[in-house]
Assembly symmetry: C2
Amino acid sequence: MNDLTERQKFILTLVIHEYIRTATPVGSQHLVARYNLDMSSATVRNELAVLTERGYLRQPHTSAGRVPTEEGYRYFVSRLIQATELPDSTRRMISHQFYQMRHDVEQWMRLAASVLAHQSRAASLVTAPHPEKARLKHLELIATRGRQVLMVLVMVGGEIHQRILILSEPVGQERLSQVAHHITTLYHGKDAEQIRALRSLVEGLEADILEWVLEEMEHVDSVVAGEIYLDGLTNVLSEPEFTASDEARRALKLLEEPTLLQDLLARTVLTHSPGGVQVLIGGEGTWEELRQCSMVLGSYGAPGLVMGTLGVLGPMRMSYGRAISVVRFMSNLLSDLVSETLMDDSAIKSDEEVSHE
Amino acid sequence: MNDLTERQKFILTLVIHEYIRTATPVGSQHLVARYNLDMSSATVRNELAVLTERGYLRQPHTSAGRVPTEEGYRYFVSRLIQATELPDSTRRMISHQFYQMRHDVEQWMRLAASVLAHQSRAASLVTAPHPEKARLKHLELIATRGRQVLMVLVMVGGEIHQRILILSEPVGQERLSQVAHHITTLYHGKDAEQIRALRSLVEGLEADILEWVLEEMEHVDSVVAGEIYLDGLTNVLSEPEFTASDEARRALKLLEEPTLLQDLLARTVLTHSPGGVQVLIGGEGTWEELRQCSMVLGSYGAPGLVMGTLGVLGPMRMSYGRAISVVRFMSNLLSDLVSETLMDDSAIKSDEEVSHE
DNA sequence: ATTTAGCACTCTCGCGCTGAGAGTGCTAAT
DNA sequence: ATTAGCACTCTCAGCGCGAGAGTGCTAAAT
């Protein structure tokens, strides 16, 4: 399995580019005309034949142009693609937007999804930062009415969970605050397992509350990713291979199913480190519905503390260069933001502007 | 403008039903055959002619069947439709699901969106309960790192807002808790305006913090609705009038634009009371992109305290009976849930089961 | 030994045509 | 008032066909 010649690589690149542009099979004459190649269509034809035999291209039918195969895209992505960085002005603009709303993590997620979708012209998905193992940072209990209590749980890393408890009898706000404070000081920084080991430190009402806390924390641990933000579904919808095909419906249906997405993203989070970008072509790795789609996935976060996933999903015929660069950029940007803002224990130098009304 | 005869109403109903079922123009012979009418097709034809002249039906071209017009649907919805309640078993099942997760408002919203989408077989949208005027219930300040502080704001009605503050100098958790407690006791139950009037009660750090609180509360007031939950986009996508038409893209694009949705829902919230259901046909009321769509909207909540909107969006050729009944049902169900769980000041009798580990 | 020109061949796609089918409106009979 | 009958209209699926694009192969040229 010796390699392709330079010219073959070059031609493969051109075919892929052209197919991404036009969504129609590309022929030899078309190529020489459009790119002013200084060889004849016959030469190109020979090379196309080789590439086809190698499995990188295929013909929809005899005597039609060539279309890249999955392997073709894969070869292109892994060996041929050259890093197209986003223009500097764009990067600045995007960073600026993020730093303008440094106070709200949820808005970051939305903005990240929106930027990914716009820049890649595909559908995007982003998960909120999520701890690998939830550790308690702060507990708050707020009396609402009668026996009902609003429990607000802040995890190390900044994730917030809320839940309504129903006690067996009414308890005043004063007492609740005491309990919350006590639990917070006792178990600050501990994960569910550690808390469970030490739960005999409290009793009575406090023990009951702690049970709720544990339940919630274990629930948090059982979910692999935070909330999922989507954007740009309409982008992929308007691609020709999706209009009127029921392939579209199935793919979009997938995106409406949060559990499936969780699964999908879980693998990614586990299998690679932030900064790196993973490209899945044609639903690679058992995803029947996405056979026509590709994904470019990355992750972000502060390793060991909180992590999130982000990526774009488009037709297999998507602009990988653009997608990879924007995913990588956003991955780094969000990592920086998260580290700067949410980190807790580590001693990272901070030199943000003093903003204080 | 005298009214239609009974038979004309009857035939109009049949035409609409049949068109909703088949999505193809319906003709006279077809009607008599399918519904075993004891009149001839010629009679039906005459009536169809009348209905067409009145503007309730139209022919795509000479010698094709009839299709309902916007006015046709409107007449049908406002005067002909008979309330089709959801089967009792379904209602029970849905209620049960909700009461099973009484601890998490966010999950209610997701479930509500999901139920609406499934039952109506259209796209659904639900907004989280949102106060008309935010009133402070509880403030919590949590030290994170250096000068950074996580502010958690709980409003009367249960809405929670969080935000990261950056102080001019580090402040310990003890002090922060004090400040939060003080502000909570001073301004509990007050809205932004009232707090602003009384802000001279505090000074120094507390005054600074209060400024952030006010800013956030005023921001909350400026938004007309809570977070928006969508579901079932793929339902409407698979309708024949949407496949391959770029009408589809524009309509879905609308749903990706949160600000537009806010606008749209705002009108509804303002213009009618919970329990009532509003039907907008053909993007009635200036919504160009939705000319092919209809919406069935309702609202829910505890009047004066928190309100939310919910509804379904489908092709004009949607099953209004089903949609109206499910929207009404969900509207009432959510109202009950919200009242039972989130209400605060009013003295509503509560008789929930004692659930306490 | 490549590259290229030429050529015969294949396959798709858009076009116009056509006949079947569905539906209508009108008129006359019931 | 209703209905049977009928002539007419319009869509739509199917078909044939020619243009166009693309291929593979062979033989000549570099």
